[in-house]
């Protein structure tokens, strides 16, 4: 069965305490983020059931939330989930060319994962980076003012690092 590391479990308990007694369900989204980061970048039924047990809520309450929010992956994704902004302000600055370039470079289409499990490409809606468009996100990092050349560099760096890129690390939250 899925189980948090001691460190993450403690953090989850601290997050629960941020909400009034009996309102522990409020910590669901933050804890799902921790779970996704710790359990391979996606949320399996087993992981969601585990989160439900931590929060003392029904599994269905976790499923209905996990399926609503676009940052939660209900299927496995590559180590690096590349999310290219496709909304109008980025489109005006050439985001369609960026997406096409990545598709060609990695030989995958929007929504697909490379055979080696390294990259998943996803086009997403506005990420609030319209002044530095076109842009993409990978893990918690924003890559801005993209050109096809800079995309090539970013992808080869990610490949070299060969590390899972996550939205959140435990040290993002303060200790108290």
């Amino acid at each position: 069965m899925a189980k948090f590391s001691e460190d993450t479990y403690d953090l989850a308990q601290r997050l629960i305490k941020r909400y009034p007694e009996g309102k522990q369900k409020s910590a669901l989204i933050p804890i799902l983020h921790l779970a996704q980061a710790e359990f391979g970048g996606w949320l399996s039924a087993e992981v969601m059931d585990y989160v439900a047990s931590i929060l003392n809520i029904k599994p269905i309450e976790v499923y209905e939330v996990a399926s609503f929010y676009s940052m939660f992956n209900l299927k496995p994704v590559g180590k690096c989930l590349i999310e290219v902004c496709r909304t109008a302000p980025c489109w005006l600055k050439g985001s369609e060319d960026i997406t096409q370039h990545i598709e060609k470079k990695l030989s995958i289409k929007d929504g697909e994962t490379t055979k080696d499990g390294m990259f998943t490409l996803k086009t997403v809606e506005c990420l609030g980076s319209c002044g530095t468009a076109p842009m993409m996100q990978c893990g918690h990092k924003y890559y801005e003012n993209l050109t096809t050349d800079s995309v090539d560099e970013i992808i080869s760096t990610l490949k070299e690092q060969n590390q899972a890129q996550v939205y959140v690390s435990n040290d993002f939250f303060r200790e108290n």
Partner: protein, 451 residues
């Protein structure tokens, strides 16, 4: 140079740390409010300032605060809306990244005014790196005694927490945000009751945008009347504008409300003119939900007056010939942009972001996306244009929350001002096969050839 009260110190090295922020006069508003004012007096100053919600709706903040119910023995909450997701808008991200302490300070002063002992900053999940920045700023404020128990020896207690979302535009709508903060799907609630009566955990709650809360700092420091002298008419104060699209100098600018749109676009102090010195075609002045305006109506109102960057001037002429200041997400289209492709792009956005609760929005946004997709790709029929107008009009006003309106308005406005461009796509399908069909010759030039 216009007056700055929010980004005044954003260029100072280390302003994101407590030490430097404090040295530059930070946390004075907390001291002033807690030591010398009653909570109601703070609310009064905010009323006098004329501050209006900076998230998009422009509702008077002081009035919103005065609606807060105060039944004895019931907790009250202040929730900061940092779910900035309106396409074209990135000002809150900039402010929180550069100067997180101004938001923390504003949260403390505003929480004191409202009598909240627990407050939350709900931030969109994609901004996770900002969670780290805000958490550090909050830890510093606790260490300095501005948060926690018995702040400045006053007996006032406040805990402040950051709460990340997980990717849902709808959670910027205040009741959806509260649902999400309670650990649920972001489905907006029916109003009434308004959050001021029954908000977070059914307790009285105020939800304010990041920039709104930050503005409480200069309002308390300067006094409401002094703040109200900045700006023009009922558009008091400064506004953060997120400038993007085909301009020379994209970025976040703090403007004194009342400067002209033309100055904002062409002056070197702000956008610096159109990229590559091309021609200005159109602009969405207040985030993707507000009507697009063609150049002529953008720079001057229908009555021929200079269009100003203010709530009133940008909405002059209503939706027939005006738009809205909205969230200040200001993006500019040069002559190469295709309005049909842009409108399809927006419709795809709203279809993707509809929560699915109300059928007119859930179904209507999908239909609009589909129809616009076929027009843009050369498969449209002439009656599709009126069909779009019809679908948009049936979404508008028929949904629980304003996402339906926000999806309908840009479509209606694009057809209102650029109908010929839609007709061109339908009449000459072979001419729009290349997605960049207006890059070589702008539509303006083509119009004469095919008229």
């Amino acid at each position: 140079m216009g007056r700055k009260v929010l980004l005044e110190h954003d260029h100072i090295e280390g302003i994101n740390t407590y030490e430097v922020y404090r040295k530059m006069g930070g946390y004075r508003s907390v001291e002033k409010a807690i030591k010398t004012m009653s909570p109601d007096e703070v609310v009064e100053e905010v009323k006098k300032s004329g501050l209006r919600g900076r998230g998009g709706a422009g509702f008077p903040t002081g009035m919103k605060w005065s609606f807060l119910a105060k039944p004895a023995g019931v907790a009250r909450y202040l929730v900061c809306n940092a779910d900035e997701s309106e396409p074209g808008t990135f000002k809150d991200r900039y402010l929180m990244e550069k100067n997180p302490h101004i938001l923390v300070e504003g949260m403390i002063t505003a929480s004191f005014a409202l009598g909240a002992n627990t407050s939350y900053i709900y931030i969109r999940g994609e901004y996770f790196y900002l969670v780290k920045i805000l958490e550090r700023a909050i830890a510093e404020a606790y260490a300095a005694g501005f948060l926690g128990k018995n702040i400045l020896g006053s007996g006032y207690d406040l805990d402040l927490y950051v709460h990340p979302g997980a990717g849902a535009y709808i959670c910027g709508e205040e009741t959806a945000l509260l649902e999400s903060l309670e650990g649920k799907r972001g489905n907006p609630r029916m109003k009434p009751p308004f959050p001021a009566i029954a908000g977070l955990y059914a307790c009285p709650t105020v939800v304010n945008n990041v920039e709104t809360i930050a503005a409480v700092v200069p309002i308390v420091n300067l006094g409401g009347e002094e703040y109200a002298k900045i700006g023009i008419g009922r558009s008091t104060g400064t506004k953060l504008i997120s400038a993007g699209g085909n301009i020379k100098k994209p970025g976040v600018y703090e403007i004194e409300m009342g400067i002209s749109v033309e100055d904002f676009i062409y002056s070197d102090e702000y956008c610096g003119g159109i990229e590559n010195d091309l021609e200005l075609k159109a602009c969405v002045p207040g985030g993707s939900s507000v009507p697009i305006l063609p150049k002529d109506l953008l720079l001057k109102t229908a009555a021929g007056e200079t269009r100003l960057m203010s709530y009133e001037s940008l909405s002059d002429g209503g939706f027939a010939t005006g738009s809205m200041l909205g969230s200040g997400g200001f993006f500019v289209y040069d002559q190469r942009a295709c309005i049909v492709r842009s409108t399809w792009n927006f419709s795809r956005f709203y279809h993707h972001e509809s929560c699915g609760q109300c059928s007119p929005c859930r179904e209507g946004t999908g239909w609009m996306e589909k129809i616009l997709h076929r027009i843009e790709n050369g498969h449209g029929k002439m009656h599709d244009i009126d069909l779009l107008v019809d679908v948009a009009s049936k979404i508008e006003g028929n949904t629980i929350c304003p996402l339906g309106d926000a999806a309908a308005w840009p479509v209606a406005a694009a057809i209102r001002h650029f109908r010929e461009e839609f007709e061109y796509h339908i009449k000459y399908p072979e001419k729009v096969k290349d997605p960049k069909h207006f890059h070589k010759i702008p539509f303006r030039g083509l119009k004469n050839v095919y008229a």
